[in-house]
Every structure is written in structure tokens, then in C-alpha cells.
């Protein structure tokens, strides 16, 4: 466990050193403060649209960060040649993969927390604060979704370079978020081979819509039942574990050619 945490801490230090998270946080803050200037027919105290757009961008930015941070870790080590001294240490490949994933996930979750903090501040300025229990639920589920996204990107990066892994990860997770919830509707129109393909897709990819509590947060609907939240978190843990397992399988027998340009 210590070795895993050490690897994770290295990911933390790297990500903090890079500017990605700060740029996204700044962009989010600028956007939200620009939205505050919208004149809603001279009426005051309107906050719903700020929350909606803020949460949308928080999800979008966290998604971008999760894929890019996770997808670059392993390829970067290979490209820089640091994978050799790393694996020469008493460190299994499983620990390496899990450590990288843990570092990526926790740092992205922390950045997401900062995004939420900005949105909470802006909502508070509009005198329409979030309910703390609903917000906690929304954040927990969001982190669970990010765990899966990081695991998917990590799995892809075991066999691809950063560009290919990140592109593929964006496509897969984007499709899972946007298309999967529509498949039960699409299946009323499709049959035969296409219908079967949609069915396979529906059950193969993770259902990110389960982790999305934005509507509850925006419309102040109160917290969802905690038993349901727990079930979704367990589902998230299972999916993340499954993709991490895939990552380990993809990495455990990978051979590195010293001196090869990756």
C-alpha cells in the first residue's frame, strides 16, 4: 500500500506542477462571473441558470482533466525512459497501475472540489445556496464517475500512446454519457443487427448518467435516498475495478524496448 501511495503522490506533484487545472479553474470562474452579468429583465435573485451552466462546465472540465491526466501517466514514463528504473524497484506492475490511477483520480477529484467551490460561491452570491446534503451526494457520485473515467483512460494508455489513448477515451466516455441513456428510446426504432449492437453497447459501457445529480442540485429537489446513492457508488466501484483489471492485464506482460522512440 505504501508503494501505491508513493506512486500516487508523484502523480500529485506532477499535476500540481503543470498548469492544466489552474487554467480550467480560471476559465470556470471567468465564465460564471460573466454569467452573473446577464440581465434577466431587471429581475434579481436568479441563480438557476448559473448553477446549471456552472455544473455543466464543472463536469466537462473534470472529464477533460480526468482523461488527460490519466492517459499520459504511463506513456510519459515510457517515453522518458523512467519506466525502467521504476520497474527495477520492488514494485509490481499492478501496484504501478493502481498507484498511477489513484494519483490521477484523487488529484482530479480535488480539482473538481475546487470547481464546485467556485460554483457554490457564485450561487451564494446570488442568494441561492445549494443544500449541503444534496451537494455532498452530487460530489460523491461525480468522484465515482471520475474514478471510472480515469480507469478507462489508464486501461487504454497501457497499449497506446497518450494521443491515441486520450482520443479513444474521450470518444468512449463521451459516447457512454451521451448515447447510452438514449439507447432504450433508439431501440424502439432499430431492429436486427443494429439493435443487437446497441444492446451490446448498452451493457458493455458504464452508465455515467447514474452519477449525474445535477438536475437535483439545480432544482433543489433535496437529497436522493442514501441507499440509492450507496448502490450507485458500489456500481461505480465495480466498474472502476473492472477497467483497472483490464489495465493491469494490458500492462503486466508488456515488453519495453530500451531506446525505442514511443
Amino acid at each position: 500500500m505504501t508503494r501505491i501511495l508513493t506512486i500516487a503522490s508523484v502523480v500529485w506533484i506532477e499535476t500540481i506542477r503543470k498548469k492544466d487545472a489552474y487554467v480550467l479553474l480560471t476559465l470556470l470562474a471567468v465564465l460564471l462571473f460573466a454569467l452573473l452579468s446577464v440581465d434577466v429583465f431587471g429581475l434579481g435573485g436568479v441563480a438557476g441558470y448559473v448553477k446549471q451552466i456552472g455544473l455543466l462546465f464543472a463536469w466537462a472540465f473534470a472529464w477533460i482533466l480526468a482523461v488527460t491526466v490519466s492517459a499520459r501517466e504511463l506513456p510519459q514514463e515510457e517515453k522518458q525512459g523512467t519506466i525502467y528504473p521504476l520497474l527495477a524497484k520492488p514494485l509490481t506492475r499492478f501496484e504501478l497501475v493502481v498507484g498511477k490511477w489513484l494519483g490521477a483520480w484523487t488529484v482530479v477529484s480535488l480539482c473538481t472540489c475546487c470547481f464546485y467551490a467556485v460554483i457554490v460561491l457564485v450561487a451564494y452570491m446570488r442568494e441561492s445556496p445549494f443544500r449541503w446534503d444534496s451537494l455532498l451526494q452530487g460530489y460523491l457520485l461525480h468522484c465515482a464517475a471520475l474514478a471510472i473515467i480515469c480507469a478507462i483512460a489508464m486501461a487504454l494508455s497501457t497499449r497506446m500512446n497518450f494521443d491515441a489513448a486520450s482520443t479513444f477515451a474521450f470518444a468512449v466516455t463521451g459516447a457512454a454519457f451521451l448515447i447510452l441513456p438514449r439507447i432504450p428510446n433508439l431501440m424502439t426504432l432499430e431492429a436486427g443487427l443494429r439493435g443487437k449492437a446497441l444492446y451490446v453497447l448498452y451493457y458493455a459501457l458504464p452508465h455515467f448518467e447514474l452519477f449525474d445529480l445535477r438536475q437535483r442540485l439545480v432544482f433543489d429537489d433535496g437529497p436522493a435516498p442514501w441507499t440509492v446513492i450507496l448502490q450507485v457508488l458500489v456500481y461505480g466501484a465495480i466498474m472502476a475495478a473492472a477497467f483497472l483489471l483490464l489495465a493491469w492485464i494490458g500492462y503486466r506482460n508488456k515488453r519495453f524496448a530500451r531506446g525505442r522512440v514511443l
Binding site: I53, N185, M187, L210, F219, V228, V232
Partner: protein, 294 residues
């Protein structure tokens, strides 16, 4: 040894994200006012940058979001091929029940209408819907008129704006101004719209209905009859009730009580209440007073 941070890898992302944020931020700004009649509507920065995609964004994004806010986040019912564990779980975490925004809450939906108006100032329907809700739910007829004035300034030749004004003036019992608004609407009809289009023809019918009843309320039976005849000429197959009214007008006028009933019925039309059917609301929903799901 580690190489320098690959900042170049992120530059394209940063550029794309900056453009996205700038576009979203600019689209939330108000459009500039028109300065001369007959000139093209001066376009906002968003319209100049994004072109016709602003219209699509206004309709499919902001207007739809206004509808979603009106339904407090609940989706409308759509047929599915199957219902499974994932959908049942999603239902448990989605906003529960259907209620429509009421009173002051309507401000939340109006924010999206405002953004739709800013992004597509040429579509006066947004201003008309916004003015309806400003008057009906918030009781702010002053702001409702302001929204319509803004739309009129940006679309001087639009008869729809004058119909919107006329409806609002009718609701606020300003009959003389109401008559003038509908006369202006009639003068501008059909504008750039296709006069053979069924919706456009129904607009003219509405104008004539209001003018006929206002003329009768003013005691000008000749003009009332002329408007009723014009309605019958437009819709010869569907004007049974209008023919009856014409007969009454030609015989000395409709009885006052019946006239007021017709006037009140006219005011109740053209509402922007939820027009989704009972079965279109997913999950449980409340029927509010006056909300007659058809």
C-alpha cells in the same frame, strides 16, 4: 531524467476551451439595439462570430432549457423498448414528480428566455412567450411591455410583436391601445411570412377576432361586421360561430353578457401553459388550477 512539462500538448485544448467559454460568455450579453428602420438588425458579437448557429443554439439549447426549467428538470415521457435496472436507478435519482414553475419561480425559466432572445433577436416568439410569463406569473406587466418593446425595436416590421402587445394590452384592460396594436399588426401582416402558411393565417384570424370584438365593444357595429366578414372569407369552412356572431351584429349587436363571455374566452386563448399531454409527463405530476392538459 524528466523532460520539460509538455505545455504544448495543452495549448490546443486551452485554445479550444477559451473559445468555448468566450462564446458562451458573449452569447449571454444583450444584443445591440436597432438604430434605423429598414436596416438589417445589427448583429450581436455572438451572431457575428457564430452566424446562423446562434439561431439553432437559441432554439435547441436555451429555449429547450427554458422548457426544462419550467418543468423543474423533469423530462417528458418518451417511449422505450425496455425498462431495466439502470433506468429504474436513474428515476430514483432524478427530480421527483412534475410541477410547473409558479409565481416568482418563473424567473428561473425566464433567464433562459432572455439568453435565447439575446442570441436570436430576430425570433420575436421568445419575447412574446417571455412577456406572457412576466405578466401572468410575476405580475410585472411593465417588464413584459419592455420585452416586447425591445423585440419591436429590433424587428420593426414584425406583426407578431404587435399581436403580443395587443394580447398583453387586452389582459391589462387597455382596450384603446389594444385596438391600435392589433390594427398595426393587421397592417404589417403577413410581413416576411408566407401568407398561405396555416399558422400565419391563424394569426390573421386572431387579429380580426380581437378587432371585431373591440369594435363591437366600442359600439361600431359596421366595422365589427367588416372584420367578421373578413374572417369568414379567410376560413369559409370553419366559421360557423363567426357567422352566428355576424348575424347578431347585423341585427343590432351581440348581447352584452355574451360579448363579455366571448372577450374573456379570447383572453384565455393563446396561453403558454404546458401543452404537453397528460401522458407526456414522466412520473407523477400535479394538475394546477386552470391547467387543462389536452
Amino acid at each position: 531524467m524528466k523532460s520539460a512539462p509538455a505545455a504544448g500538448t495543452f495549448l490546443p485544448w486551452i485554445a479550444v476551451l477559451s473559445l468555448l467559454v468566450a462564446g458562451a460568455a458573449m452569447s449571454a450579453r444583450l444584443a445591440e439595439s436597432a438604430v434605423a428602420s429598414g436596416s438589417q438588425i445589427p448583429s450581436s458579437i455572438a451572431e457575428q462570430l457564430l452566424g446562423n448557429s446562434t439561431k439553432a443554439l437559441a432554439e435547441y439549447s436555451y429555449y429547450k432549457m427554458a422548457d426544462q426549467f419550467y418543468h423543474k428538470g423533469q423530462d417528458h415521457y418518451e417511449e422505450t423498448a425496455f425498462v431495466d435496472f439502470f433506468q429504474r436507478m436513474k428515476e430514483k435519482t432524478a427530480p421527483a414528480g412534475i410541477v410547473h414553475l409558479k409565481g416568482n419561480e418563473m424567473k428561473e425559466s425566464l433567464a433562459w428566455m432572455r439568453m435565447a432572445m439575446s442570441l436570436d433577436p430576430g425570433n420575436v416568439e421568445y419575447a412574446i412567450v417571455a412577456s406572457y410569463w412576466l405578466e401572468r406569473e410575476l405580475g410585472r406587466s411593465d417588464l413584459a411591455f419592455q420585452a416586447l418593446d425591445e423585440a419591436a425595436a429590433l424587428n420593426p416590421g414584425s406583426y407578431l410583436v404587435h399581436i403580443g402587445r395587443g394580447r398583453l394590452l387586452a389582459k391589462t384592460n387597455r382596450k384603446a391601445e389594444c385596438r391600435r396594436a392589433f390594427e398595426t399588426a393587421l397592417k404589417y401582416w403577413p410581413g416576411t411570412s408566407d401568407p398561405a402558411n396555416e399558422d400565419v393565417r391563424m394569426h390573421r384570424r386572431e387579429i380580426l377576432s380581437y378587432l371585431a370584438i373591440l369594435a363591437e365593444l366600442d359600439g361600431d357595429l359596421g366595422r365589427a361586421a367588416a372584420y367578421l366578414k373578413a374572417t369568414i372569407n379567410m376560413f369559409p369552412q370553419k366559421s360557423e360561430a363567426v357567422r352566428k356572431r355576424l348575424a347578431q351584429v347585423e341585427n343590432g349587436g351581440t348581447p352584452k353578457e355574451s360579448l363579455l363571455q366571448t372577450w374573456n374566452a379570447l383572453l384565455r386563448e393563446n396561453s403558454y401553459e404546458c401543452d404537453h399531454g397528460h401522458e407526456d409527463h414522466a412520473g407523477e405530476h400535479e394538475h394546477e388550477d386552470g391547467n387543462t392538459h389536452e
